[in-house]
């Protein structure tokens, strides 16, 4: 693949400071993501995974190192890099349909009314929200809210989608259904995805590549190219090959989790 069409992290370091101390969340982090890849980042909580997404989104500027897109700087937050949050972030004052249309009505992606209607209808149908098109989000369940958030993010046709533990707040069954819904969206309109999760199984089921990262400060510990072809279905989870990979990566993630816990306890002891 042409190295110009890539998102490249090169030696990225970042720290958060407050009055008392400095927490280094990223150190010498390097990763290269090609167009069309679905890359999951797994690692202990409280490490720099969310910071990575915030850097790509343009909310945070790294202290050291560079992040480039197609060889140039990233620039401020924009509609080319969509973001999906664990807390859904659906706008409670807009109906389901108007939530999907929100991005399409902005000057940055201005679409014709006919196009807006067609796009909304399409995503209402794909995300099975037609019945609730004119309802306010307060009547939606957690899974439905996250489907709405996904629909809203896909509707503006971003190049990248940054997902920060998007299914972390959902129960196990809803979570599985959401993973299939996401694969469905990707099959129809593949985005380059950076996906942060705690779940090894989720990462392997969704991604083309899984990046396991270390405890704080976060570096890449191991990269796994996921060998299973799309379309993927629930049957994949039960194959021995899939489960062997889950077991292998889980051990690595657990080791980093333990390292992070040791860090936290020694931190409080000091």
């Amino acid at each position: 693949m042409n190295s110009q069409h890539r998102l490249v992290f090169d030696g990225v370091g970042h720290a958060y400071r407050d009055v008392a101390r400095e927490v280094r969340v990223l150190e010498d982090f390097s990763l290269s993501v090609a167009d069309g890849e679905f890359v999951s980042i797994i690692g202990p909580s409280g490490c720099g995974k969310t910071t990575l997404l915030n850097i790509v989104a343009g909310f945070v500027a790294p202290d050291t190192g560079t992040v480039t897109l197609d060889g140039g700087p990233l620039g401020p937050p924009g509609p080319d890099r969509g973001m999906v949050f664990q807390e859904y972030g659906v706008f409670p004052w807009l109906t389901v349909r108007d939530n999907i249309a929100f991005g399409l009505r902005l000057r940055a992606n201005r679409r014709s009314p006919a196009e807006i209607k067609a796009t909304c209808d399409h995503y209402l149908q794909v995300m099975r929200l037609e019945e609730f098109a004119d309802a306010y989000p307060r009547v939606l369940s957690g899974g439905m809210r996250q489907r709405l958030a996904l629909a809203r993010a896909y509707a503006v046709r971003p190049r990248f989608l940054l997902m920060d533990e998007p299914f972390g707040a959902l129960d196990a069954q809803t979570r599985t259904a959401m993973q299939d819904a996401l694969l469905e969206l990707q099959a129809e309109d593949a985005k380059t995805v950076l996906f942060v999760t705690h779940s090894v199984e989720e990462a392997l089921y969704l991604s083309t590549r899984v990046v396991a990262v270390s405890a704080r400060p976060t570096r890449v510990r191991r990269t796994v190219d996921v060998p299973f072809p799309y379309p993927r279905t629930g049957a994949l989870r039960r194959t021995p090959e899939f489960q062997a990979l889950v077991a292998e990566l889980s051990d690595l993630v657990m080791a980093e989790y333990a390292a992070q816990q040791r860090q936290l306890t020694s931190g409080t002891a000091r």
Binding site: A57, F59, P77, G78, P79, R81, G82, M83, F85, E87, G89, F91, P92, W93, L94, F102, G103, L106, R107, A108, N109, A135, Y136, P137, R138, V139, L140, S141, R152, A153, V156, L162
Partner: protein, 278 residues
Amino acid sequence: MTPDLAAMSDDPARPSAPRRRPALPAPLGRACAAVAPWLALLALWYAVRYSGLVKASLVPTPSDVLGTLWHLIAAKGLLFDAWESTMRVLAGLASGIVLAIPVGFVLGWYRGLGRFLDPLVNFFRALPPIALIPLVIVYFGIGEVAKVAILFYAAFFAGVIVMYEGIRQTSPLYVRVARTLGATDAEIFLRVIVPLALPHVLTALRVALGVTWATLVAAELVAAQRGLGAVIQNASNYFQISTIYAGIICIGAIALLMDVAVRAASARLVSWQERVAR
């Protein structure tokens, strides 16, 4: 609140609980629920009056007060007093809230500024407006401006604190979502911040309305000739207890009507809000 109950049963995510006993037909039941507390209050009033625990001359009966009310309306122009007072309240409320909305918003949005001014805002809000009357007389005299100034003060600080707290607790998540969808600063203000602020504006209005009516009598102590506060003040000088009651009931009734109006406006404007244990 009955309108809320009606709204909740329409809510598909929350089917209404099975009823334990057959209820009255809805409109009749609602009317009864609205009237019952007033009947209970009247009953309590009569009970206190005839219990022998208080001097009869100190507590007029509800029917005495009703008679006085009629006399005041027919012969003394009580409606004009009510009008004068309502206009003063509206003038104080309007000027106070119009200033409180932007100020409260700015304090809530710019955290640093909010933290810096927070103690001052709380100091001035904690001051009872009535304590300022001597100063208001010195600076504004005893005319209409003085009375509206006190009501303005009451409305402004009540409104500012509600607005400030509301905006401060607004989740930054919505702004971030809007940015990643491509919104400019102007679009974020109009399409995200204004709708998020609207419920707080309405709450600020409601709180300020209550405080302003509460301050009215104090404001009309500043040598008012007319107004419900003046009616009560004059009656108190002549020990006309029935008239005092009538004046108090007028203030309560008008304040309640205005509150109902604001609540009805809220129900329409922010029907999207999640109803969390109200």
